[in-house]
Amino acid sequence: EPEVTQTPSHQVTQMGQEVILRCVPISNHLYFYWYRQILGQKVEFLVSFYNNEISEKSEIFDDQFSVERPDGSNFTLKIRSTKLEDSAMYFCASSEYRDRVSEQYFGPGTRLTVT
């Protein structure tokens, strides 16, 4: 069964450093998403991406964040200058269709720890 993969599984970084979280969506999917989950809290939508541009973004997704599809398989989330409050699980998801919310497939997540 195809699945979304994410690397690394755990990233530790110092405050102020840049991090890039990587995702490989399911190969025939066209829509890509990032979510985050601060420990013990709700999953929160960050951004959706289609056709090489951002479709929607939340208030959380400020100028410190950027997304990119650098090639035909990877989808990345970059945080330019990490803050302590960026520590969270970051989930990538992909879907074949935009309108079928139920068909978003989530990756296992990257745990980001900012020290």
Partner: protein, 113 residues
């Protein structure tokens, strides 16, 4: 702001019992609801969904009930198994064609053999 929430943070059941996980929502404009399962170390996994024009939907061993009058959503799991142990989230979307979701906090389901 309006939000989705859960009544019970932890539910412990015996293997073979039926489980009921509840969720309250406050956005009357919500049109579409999803239940997710999240096992330890994994991302959310879709279980079942329901639209606001329905009050019940059944899947394999799972049933979702929607009571729009009291803005309440529940997930029923029949014959609960140890493999059902996980955190269960409800999520809502005000527009079924919309790709963003608002998630609830989650309920931990613990199934004892």
């Amino acid at each position: 702001g309006e939000s989705v929430g859960l009544h019970l943070p932890t539910l412990s059941v015996q293997e073979g019992d039926n489980s009921i996980i509840n969720c309250a929502y406050s956005n009357s404009a919500s049109d579409y609801f999803i239940w997710y399962k999240q096992e330890s170390g994994k991302g959310p996994q879709f279980i079942i969904d329901i639209r606001s024009n329905m009050d019940k939907r059944q899947g394999q061993r799972v049933t979702v009930l929607l009571n729009k009058t009291v803005k309440h959503l529940s997930l029923q799991i029949a014959a609960t198994q140890p493999g059902d142990s996980a955190v269960y989230f409800c999520a809502e979307s005000p527009n079924s064609g919309y790709s963003t979701l608002t998630f609830g906090k989650g309920t931990m389901l613990l199934v004892s053999p």
